[in-house]
Point group: C2
């Protein structure tokens, strides 16, 4: 019997009516002859409300207890989903992350899935039940404490469960119709992407496309589980993320990201090891560095710029400031008014001139490029924050044909 | 080091400010040189809100999932309490019922505590932490499912933990000052009882005094753990429930209960075994029968009346109706407009004439007695619902002296 893992996000289970809708969809899938595992997030704004409550009772952070608190959210939504499914005459059972055997590292708030035993999930399926599993949470086998997986955690739960159970597909239900060639709020004629490879989707996620988090795509890629990102409000096909795509295109899509800031260390003596002196302590401080650019050295002195999430600015300045003093650099400054625009597409590997065309389009629209980084299937440029919408629109226009699937482009 | 178990009910943890108050009290107790275990209920109306949500997603009852749902309530309050305590510089750790090793029967919604391993509670205390345990919940070792203990469950958790850990006292914090000689809303000059024996408290609970549930008193009695019922809004002494009381009184207090209804089966052929024919199927249907009265038989025909919780009327009528048909009785009726008033006091064992005086007082106030039942230290009368306040007031007046502690009464 085919096995389908379905993940429903917070907006899909935001209230009693939505939960009844989810139950109907799950029951339809089950009655169509599938085994179904459902992964749910907390209802609507629950997680934010709980964080607010925590801030009102305590001034400091208490990571273990914060995880205990937040995991109450999925507990509510999963029990309600199970009730709504059983009410339609299909046996169902909800399991916490711990009960489902989702074993994680002990890092509260940012735990990584290490192993999934999944015995009780399998037993539930074998007894003819729909099994509902709490997303976003697990348990650390060392401390026996409850953990949460951080941002995108429920998607990761779903994809990891799909991998362990050998599911035929992992369906990610969300409030949009799929992954688009660009953010439709910025580019009104952006197109839904029907198929995208794991590698391209990973690059889109890294580049700021918020629809699907990289962690879940990585599970899909590693265990070759197709991921279907689709709307919980329609029955339309969404975007299939899988190994081979039928539709080849040079550029798959354009992603952008306004969540980063640029930090620059000025007047760094350009000696061997100076980059390590800066980036090792940043890594130890948990600062997630994205792009790095080191200028050509002039008179043995260089500037090093890097981008970090805005939420890490304080720690980044802390570390960079003390390194700057240690190595005798000229000082540190930060620019929060930046944004990143990226072209992603496996086709660019075999097509030359994509980067040149990208830079030309931006320049033609009067947009200055502050930093550049590339991967084999992605080109990213940092531009001024105020230029980002213009950048996304002009690139979407300029690469319109390159984004058309080859089969359609021929017609 | 003395070990104190403190239980805080829903009103004591109703919002962030109250939780901060609880944290202060816990920290004060800890800093005074005690080990402290805290048992918490869900915040304020949380449990009712979750039940409402369940009713909106499902028309039928789903006991396993309802327990999964409701246990989210204590999860939130216990994590917030732990944060608020840690914020004051005292290490704290919250544990679910399952983590605390509270093993129960598998009856969802009405589980009984079977055993408490308490290893993690003890380990937490040994490492110098305040341990916060979720009230009202446990885990069934057979099904590995989460269970809830039903009404008064958090008190039971606290008393059972106190017993297992050998605590010096189990403090039950509530929104009233203690146990009173009668409900102060009905009898303005009702007095707070300073000390009461386990046996008297059990009878008061059974008779409708809602301050402390019988299950927790039973744990206290069996393991001889003093229970201190007190207000979470003051530091005043409340009511001590313990084996031996300093203050002897003939009557300890007056309890009343308006939650029951009277069911009467008319014209029952008075044959051996006819009572069993009625009460066995009622027990099987889970109907909790309180008082039973069988009239003197006339011409081999009798009436049998019994009281049940109003919430069980439907099942009681179902069972009684079919038994009535089977045994050829004359039919069944129900009277919801009744109430029970009870005198409780160990002193009545050695004092004759208490029952007679009770009946006289009620009769002097024009109150008709419909049913009577007695235990060695309690006399209960069923009266018309509209008479209950008058009954409580007149008995409190009439037994004023008998309720005074002997030491004071002599003065």
């Amino acid at each position: 019997m085919p096995l389908i893992v379905q993940k429903y996000g917070g907006t899909s289970v935001a209230d009693a009516d939505r939960i009844r809708d989810v139950a109907k969809r799950v029951v339809d899938t089950f009655r169509a002859g599938n085994e179904v595992v459902v992964v749910v997030s907390a209802m609507g704004r629950t997680t934010d409300d709980l964080i607010d409550l925590a801030k009102r009772v305590a001034d400091r952070d208490h990571p273990r207890e914060m995880d205990m608190l937040l995991t109450a959210g999925e507990r509510v939504s999963m029990a309600l989903c199970a009730m709504a499914i059983e009410d339609r005459g299909v046996p169902a059972m909800s399991l916490t992350g711990s009960q489902a055997g989702i074993l994680t590292t002990a890092t509260h708030g940012q735990a990584e899935i290490v192993e999934i035993s999944g015995d009780r999930v399998r037993a539930g399926l074998d007894s003819g039940k729909v099994v509902i599993v709490a997303g976003f949470q697990g348990v650390s086998p060392d401390s026996r404490d409850v953990t949460t997986l951080g941002r995108g955690g429920s998607d990761a739960t779903a994809a990891a469960l799909a991998a362990v159970l050998g599911a035929d597909v992992c369906e990610i239900y969300t409030d949009v119709d799929g992954v688009f060639t660009a953010d439709p709020r910025i580019v009104p004629d952006a197109r839904k992407i029907d198929e995208i490879s794991y590698q391209e989707m990973l690059e889109m996620s890294v580049a700021g496309s918020g629809v699907l988090m990289g962690r879940s795509v990585e599970f899909g890629r590693r265990y070759n589980i197709p991921i279907h990102v689709r709307s919980s409000f329609t029955t339309d096909m969404g975007t299939w993320v899988k190994e081979e795509t039928m539709e080849e295109a040079i550029i798959r899509g354009i992603a952008h990201d306004t969540s980063e800031a640029k930090v620059t260390v000025h007047g760094v003596p350009d000696k061997p090891g100076v980059a390590a002196t800066l980036f090792e302590p940043l890594a130890r401080a948990g600062v997630n560095v994205d792009m790095i650019v080191q200028n050509v050295s002039r008179d043995g002195i260089t500037d090093i710029s890097f981008t970090v999430p805005k939420s890490s600015i304080a720690s980044a300045l802390d570390v960079a400031g003390s390194v700057s003093t240690d190595v005798g650099a000229g000082g540190v400054d930060v620019d929060e008014d930046i944004a990143k625009v990226s072209l992603v597409g496996a086709g660019m590997k075999s097509e030359s001139g994509i980067a040149a065309k990208m830079f030309r389009i931006l320049s033609d629209h009067g947009i200055n490029i502050e930093m550049i980084s590339t991967s084999p299937i992605r080109i990213s440029c940092i531009v001024a924050g105020g230029d980002i919408e213009k950048a996304v629109r002009s690139l979407h226009d300029g690469f319109q044909t390159a984004m058309a699937p080859a089969s359609e482009g021929d017609g």
